[in-house]
Each structure stands twice: as structure tokens, then as C-alpha cells.
Symmetry: C2
Subunit: 253 residues, 2 copies
Amino acid sequence: MQRYFVEHYERTKELDEITIFDQDIIHHMRNVMRMAIDDKCILMIEQEPYQVKVLQLDKESICCRIISRIHEQTELTVDVTMAFGLSKGDKPELIIQKCTELGANAFIPLNSERTIVKLNHKKEKKRIDRYVKVASESSEQSYRHRIPTIHNVQSLSNFSLTDYDLVIVAYEETVKSNQSYTHLSQLRQQIQSSTSVLCITGPEGGFTSSEIDQLQQHDHVMTVGLGRRILRAETAPIYMMSVLSYMLEANDC
Amino acid sequence: MQRYFVEHYERTKELDEITIFDQDIIHHMRNVMRMAIDDKCILMIEQEPYQVKVLQLDKESICCRIISRIHEQTELTVDVTMAFGLSKGDKPELIIQKCTELGANAFIPLNSERTIVKLNHKKEKKRIDRYVKVASESSEQSYRHRIPTIHNVQSLSNFSLTDYDLVIVAYEETVKSNQSYTHLSQLRQQIQSSTSVLCITGPEGGFTSSEIDQLQQHDHVMTVGLGRRILRAETAPIYMMSVLSYMLEANDC
């Protein structure tokens, strides 16, 4: 059933009615889905899903009656933020689309020493707007209850790590040089007992050793290898988010 | 360092020399990498990696001297085959590229009841050729020792499951209906003790319940949910392969 994240609405509690004013949702319901009176859909209101049926549709607003509050748990128990090295083309969009499906709650595009992509203010704004749209569509499709936050581009060198209980940095040099490395499974308990986890992955070419040294000055920063193979820049965050959601949902069924 | 999977070669054991005859490798070394005498690269010969230096380059062949056999373990200990519902656009390529990085050893594109894509013989051959190229490039990039096998398109209804110790089928209906489901973690020991695992994921819209019933008639077939969210058709195999490689590499470091 079609889902929508509603932002602008009025709710009449006594009548269990919701009137939607979001223009993009109205357009989609009327012109794309061609919905009519009595058709049903799911509205996400303040991170809660409601099954509703349409009472009245017009150009300016759509009024719906709540049939039921849906009880489902689709959010992870730990707040996961993915910070990823900006890369070329549509790779950031792939990261955001996939990691949203897998449960991430926020994204931070990163500039670091080996970042090639340079964005001026106008281009950055355009990109961020696009990323917000990708996160929103992916949230609807995957039955998320919230749309992840997209932060502006930040620089690795002056970016605050203190807001997170645990910071996990993907570093491939240990794998490249065939050394032993910390595996994500060794952080399992720490991840499960955290409130907020930040995962950091590099751009093409990865982080420099001085960047890694600087990150490692913080006690709550752990560097990990992501297995024995070299993952592309956009595969690393998808692998990490897959494993985190696997870990966090292993005990819930 | 650049890596190549060499197929056509002659080896002179006494001199530790390898002469390459693969035209695409010769082209890449000469014209793309612009390699010269004494330049180094890594050649994969019969699934073993060798660091070599170039002795002589010409249009027909390139002769290299072996410097050392590289000791690295980049292959998973379990042979994993990914069978995925054929979907539109470049989604199969994304699945093959990412799951190759993550360690899959074979791919089977599947036709099932809800498959929309219809391929005639000529189109199928073209697609399979393209998939082989994607798997090969992804293997080189991720330091794999072997290139995964790409099978021809098979039909779910008459496809043999007997070649595998364990078959894991992704089935989202349990998640959609908010029921409890078998989580991949419950199969951890079975996966780790298998020689060969087949993962099956559906096309857009998933498998029908009668397809699932038929698959479940086999004792070694397990249906699993992939977490609490609904994953896109191309995300499901990437999630499964991430988790399998995580499980299989959790104890090796």
C-alpha cells in the first residue's frame, strides 16, 4: 500500500480526520496514483504510521479518515549516522538510497584529503536537495517511520565526533597489506549497547594515514577492516550498514 | 597495483617467466596503463596472485618475470551462489558488481512468476556477456583470486537445488505482515559448516506464496526475512552477501 510522509497537515482528533496540505503528496495521490474517495493508503504522521481512507480530494488539500494505527517496528534500536567520502557521479545517491533501506538515521557527506569532487555553494545545495529526495523516497519504499537527516558537506579535519557513543572508521590499509585487522564482529557488544553510532568511510583512495592517526586520538574511535577484499568507496558504507542492521536485529525475532 | 586475470599464457618454470597472450590485457597494459619495461603489476594465474615485472611488450604478447607469489586470502571459505530475480535496467549489474566484491562465487539470473523482463536468446547472450565483464572487473578491483561464474538465465520452477548444502530464500511477506521471521543469524552455524550455499532473492514484487511453498518442500531450504524493512530487489542480495561475508570472516582475524 502506498505510503506518504506527511509534513503539513491538520488533525481533528474527535473525528479522527487528517487533512493534508503537502503539495507533492496531493499531486502524487491525485495524478500519479489517481486515488478516489474511499481509496486507502498509509500516512506517516510524526513517525507514526496510520492506515487511512480518502474522504475528499481537491487541488489544495486531501482529507482522510484514520482507520487504524499500524503497529510495526521498522526502525533500528541504535541511531546510526553514515559519514562517507564524497565521490563522483551518483555514488552518494546509491549510498543514501541503500543505507536508508538498511536503517541509517543520518548522512554526512565528507571532504577529506583524497576527495576529488569540489562543490561550490550552489552545487552543494543542489546536491543536498537531491539527497534529501533520495532519502525520502527510500524511506517510503522501505516502510521506515522517519526520513534520515542529510547534513551539509563537512570536512573530516574539523568535524565533531563527540556527539556519538562509538565511532567506527573503515580503513583498508590493514587488508591491503594482508595484516590482521579489527573485524566488525569484535565491536558487536559495543554497537548493541550504544545509543548512537557514527560510521565513517573514505572517498576513492581511502583516508591517508595521518587522517587515521588524527581520528584514532579519540578513545571512542575504532578502525576496522571490512573483510579481506577491497571494497569500492560506495560498497563500504552499504556493507557496514548491512552488518549493523543484521547485528541489531539478530535478537529481535 | 594493477591486477589482471590471465587466461592465455605460457609459463617457463625454469626462468620464472610468464608470457601473456590475452588481447584485452595486452591492450590495457600497453595503451591504458602505458606500462614500460620494468613496470610491475599483479597477475592472477589459475587463482594464484603473482607480482611480476615486465620484460618485453609487443602487440601480440607481453613477457613478465615473476618477482614473488603473493600470500593473501581473499576468498570466502564457503562457496556462495547468488540466484536473483531478473529485474529491469542495470540492477542485475549492480548485484553482480557488489556481490563479487563481497565474495560470491557464482550468479544465476532467475525467471519467476513475477519477472517482468523477457529476454530472447540473442538479448540473453548479450546480457550474460555483459555480466561476465562486470564480474571480471569487480574481481580485479576487489583483489579476488577467481572470477565468479555467470550462469544462463534459469527458471525457478525447474531449477535444481540439490547441488547445494544449504539454500536460503529471502521472503518478505513475514516482514510485511509484521510476523516473526527466521533471521539470518539463526542459520549462522549451518552457513559456517556448509561447503556450498545458494541464496535466492526475488524480482520486484518478490516470490508468490506458491513458489515459496514449492521451494520449502526441500529439507535444506530455509526462508528468511532480511530485517524489519522492505528492501528493494537489488538491495536484498547485497544485504545477504554482506552478512554472509561478515559471518564467514568474523573468526578469521
